[in-house]
């Protein structure tokens, strides 16, 4: 049932693309596809590399070394998640302008003879998307590192391996599920990203689909392209599963918690140098920009009572959608983690569809479905929540499943042996054990729904504006400065959610 709902947009796409004649397919194939494929794939690979470097290095430093201001560092590395890619892209193009903050620094340092870095190419887009996405890898790898067993690393050290060897041959392979899950989330974001690519005019599948739909009203071609995009993403996900499925890691009973080493003074400096650099570009600069323009808006009294209404709407949608998504994702994740069969695989991949389809396509699919089957709901809050849940369900599935895979089945079996029924077992053993995964699933969905734009724009009830909608409305008349308060509010609004996630972790560690 859940999967069926998630597959609605796919059905819509397949149905629409049936209307595409063979000649049109051939035309599409020869004229657009090669370029789009190359653009999309090269971007995906660059972003994967960027997120891997940024995410794994920072997570490693945070979990394995003790240094001053560690909690602050964690926050700074998670918070970039709260900034939508379109805001990122805009802020960076403005700052790299001659008169922008970074542009003037560049001119002062290098003079005008060295050309300023240009964002309007694959490297620029990859940089923006890496900064906006590496936190997913950071979060999942960090969680895995904290749970992971140091016994193996110590054993390797005792047998004479150098620290680098240990990292490359023990820690990295052990981290593979977490890294794969993190990168999968990042990849799905890249494939479905609309904000940064449209701002920087980099033609990927998503942008091209959108242009087909909005410029030409050509649903069929858009659906055809979507179908290719979906196949591409599913191939990629199946590959990721394949590489992951050959190993299964359970933490054993005799695990010991990681004791981070104290960093020396020199190390502290180096650590903060690197973390500070990452945090500065991924969070510090954009937020400083927002603060400056919010201050301007405040002085000029652009922040009215309606603004707080948008804040409430955003929070309400995100809260409901995150809760529903976590509940819905649970059976899919559990089923697959415990009985990885063909059908569970299919369910899992189908549930991913919402994420790889461009937002406007998901929205149109949901509109068509709701109008055809339950028109009462149309135009209401439910249709909107349904669309965003469909879009972000995979996030919830991914992070729940990652934590379920690490939960040793023998613990559950023990519960059953001791006489607990399946439900009681679920309630008293499984759920508490994967609490961390549930919480981070909830927070990840919450954050993404908070930032969601294209589907909300189409499906929101009349007069129901959210913060991203307002950002879009201000930006569409080329006055993005006016959007700064809304962007800042998104960041501030995510604080409580992330705090809940962090506090859950703290409590857990104390118990252990």
């Amino acid at each position: 049932m859940v999967v069926l709902v998630a597959a609605i947009p796919l059905l819509f796409v397949v149905y629409s693309s049936f209307e595409l004649s063979q000649a049109q397919w051939i035309g599409l194939w020869s004229s657009r596809l090669p370029g789009l494929l190359w653009n999309t794939l090269s971007l995906a690979i660059l972003v994967a590399i960027g997120c891997f470097v940024l995410g794994v290095s920072t997570a490693w430093l945070i979990t394995r070394r003790d240094f001053v201001g560690k909690r602050l560092a964690v926050w700074l590395l998670v918070l970039p998640l709260t900034i939508p890619t379109y805001v990122f892209a805009h802020i960076y193009t403005v700052m790299l302008d001659d008169e922008g903050w970074l542009g003037s620094v560049w001119l002062a340092v290098f003079g005008s003879s060295v050309p300023m870095p240009d964002l309007y190419n694959v490297f620029g887009v990859a940089l923006i998307l890496s900064l906006a996405g590496f936190s997913y890898v950071f979060l999942l790898v960090r969680a895995a590192l904290m749970r992971s067993n140091v016994v193996f690393e110590e054993a390797a050290r005792i047998h004479g391996a150098t620290p680098l060897q240990v990292f490359a041959r023990i820690s990295l392979p052990l981290l593979r599920p977490a890294i794969a899950a993190g990168l999968a989330v990042v990849m799905l974001h890249v494939l479905s990203d609309f904000g940064a690519v449209s701002m920087l005019r980099y033609q990927t599948f998503t942008l091209s689909i959108y242009l087909q739909m909005s410029g030409r009203f050509d649903f069929q071609a858009a659906a055809g392209l979507s179908l290719v995009l979906v196949s591409l993403s599913l191939t990629f996900l199946v590959l990721e599963r394949f590489f992951r499925s050959r190993q299964r890691y359970y933490s054993s009973g005799q695990s010991r918690a990681v004791r981070p080493k104290h960093a020396t003074r020199g190390e502290q400096l180096l650590i903060w140098g690197w973390l500070g650099l990452v945090a500065l570009f991924a969070f510090g600069l954009p937020v400083a920009w927002m603060l400056v323009w919010t201050w301007h808006a405040w002085i000029e009294q652009h922040i009215t009572r309606e603004f707080w209404g948008y804040v409430f709407n955003s929070g309400f949608v995100s809260f409901s959608a995150a809760t529903i998504a976590v509940v819905l994702a649970f059976p899919i994740g559990l089923y697959h983690a415990r009985r990885p069969t063909l059908s569970s695989n299919t369910f899992l991949h189908l549930s991913n569809v919402g994420f790889v389809l461009p937002g406007p396509v998901v929205a149109l699919g949901v509109i068509t479905f709701v109008l055809a089957t339950m028109p009462v709901l149309y135009g209401g809050f439910i249709a909107l929540v349904m669309a965003v849940v469909v879009r972000f369900l995979p996030l919830a599935v991914q992070s729940q499943e990652a934590s379920m895979q690490q939960l040793t089945p023998s613990v559950e079996q023990a519960g059953r042996i001791l006489g607990a029924g399946p439900l009681e077992n679920l309630w008293r053993v499984t759920l508490p054990m994967i609490r961390g995964g549930l919480i981070s699933a909830w927070v990840l969905v919450f954050i993404d729904v908070l930032k969601e734009l294209p589907a909300t724009l189409l499906l929101r009830p009349i007069g129901f504006d959210t913060l991203p909608v307002r950002i879009w409305i201000e930006a569409s008349e080329e006055m993005l400065e006016l959007a700064a308060p809304a962007a800042l509010m998104l960041v501030v609004g995510t604080f409580p959610a992330i705090w809940v996630m962090m506090r859950g972790e703290m409590a857990k560690r104390q118990v252990e």
């Binding site: 005019r201 739909m213 149109l364 549930l438 724009l457 007069g463 008349e477």
Partner: protein, 340 residues
């Protein structure tokens, strides 16, 4: 355990709230719902004035024109929208062609000259924008640029600012040039333009004006109001407007209109027409156009102070409906040339 308990309380709370809102937001009887593809900032003051006058509430549902048009089409008879507002005559005409709108009664429509509304009155143009050139007065002599077609001259290599080819205004402009000249000439022009800009296009009109003001570029192709928006904030910026193609045999300046239409399935026809009647009245026209320094379409209502008055220059004689009918032809040509 406490965590799980709290979680389940929360979940049931949510379910309750959601269940309450199943019915959705129902519009009351004396409320108009407008699907608006135009910036809230420009529309809100006008509809607020209308509400004050008539007591009829207006809810603006703002999104992209094309997305809203798709939505109207999918919704069919269930649409809650009473009116559709767009910045582009092309979109309005596409909606008319898809039979999404209903004709406005003649005595209201006739306030606007016939070239700025649909032939069957299914949409009414409310304000117009002119496609003009902006130059840096330090680097470009007056009279050096006479026509938009001059921009294809190799001497402008690296000196031009234009938007990317997916921009609504850019497409509408090219459609007018295509209709006013012919395919061969327009194609050659686009190719020259493409060579001159050398890959460097702008995503925003305001960035073009900014670049010209700072001497990074010498000339740009923009909508007229962006120039005055810049001048309002920087009165001493070294930029000037150039009204192109004004010679005796030239085709004139490309115009595009923002307009409004009543949806076919609106149940509040009377109120909707009341709003349109206000928007085409002198008072409404002045407010609607002046908010963005555009030209009121009603004759005899002046534009904002600095803007060159309508009628003081020649406007291309291409009917607005062509902007919708020929849009795909233009996009095909742009793709054939490979305009970035």
């Amino acid at each position: 355990m406490t965590f799980l308990k709290r979680f389940s309380y929360l979940a049931s709370g949510i379910v309750a709230i959601v269940a309450c809102s199943v019915a959705g937001v129902q519009a009351s009887d004396d409320e108009l719902i407008v699907y608006s593809g135009r910036s809230d900032k420009f529309v809100r003051p006008v509809v607020e004035a209308f509400t004050e006058k008539t007591g009829v509430k207006v809810v603006l549902h703002t999104a992209e024109s094309t997305a809203l048009l798709n939505k109207l089409r999918l919704e069919g008879g269930r649409t809650p929208a009473d009116l559709f507002l767009s910045n582009d005559a092309g979109n309005l005409q596409l909606g008319s062609d898809a039979k999404l709108f209903r004709a406005v009664s003649k005595d209201i429509a006739s306030a606007i000259p016939s070239q700025y509304r649909a032939a069957d009155n299914t949409w009414i143009g409310l304000s117009a924008r002119a496609r003009v050139l902006v130059i840096n007065t330090n680097n470009v002599e007056k009279g050096e640029l006479q026509s938009v077609f001059d921009l294809a001259d190799p001497k402008w290599l690296g000196r031009l600012g234009i938007t990317n080819a997916t921009n609504e205004s850019f497409i509408a402009g090219v459609t007018v040039y295509l209709e006013a000249t012919d395919r061969g000439q327009t194609k050659a022009w686009l190719e020259g333009l493409k060579a001159n800009i050398n890959g460097g296009v702008f995503s925003k009109h305001s960035h073009i004006v900014n670049a010209v003001a700072r001497g990074k570029k010498d000339a740009g192709l923009v909508n007229h109001y962006y120039i005055y928006r810049h001048l309002a904030e920087n009165p001493n910026a070294p930029i000037a407007i150039v009204l192109p193609d004004q010679g005796e045999n030239d085709f004139g300046i490309a115009w595009n209109v923002a307009g409004i239409a009543v949806t076919k399935h609106s149940k509040k026809l009377e109120l909707a027409e009341q709003l349109i009647a206000f928007l085409v009245s002198e008072e409404g026209q002045k407010m609607f156009a002046e908010a963005n320094r555009e030209y009121p379409t009603r004759e005899g209502v002046p534009a904002a102070d600095m803007v060159p008055p309508a009628g003081s220059y020649k406007v291309a004689g291409v009917p607005m409906s062509a902007l919708g009918a020929k849009r795909n032809t233009t996009i095909d040509l742009l793709e054939e040339v490979g305009m970035p």
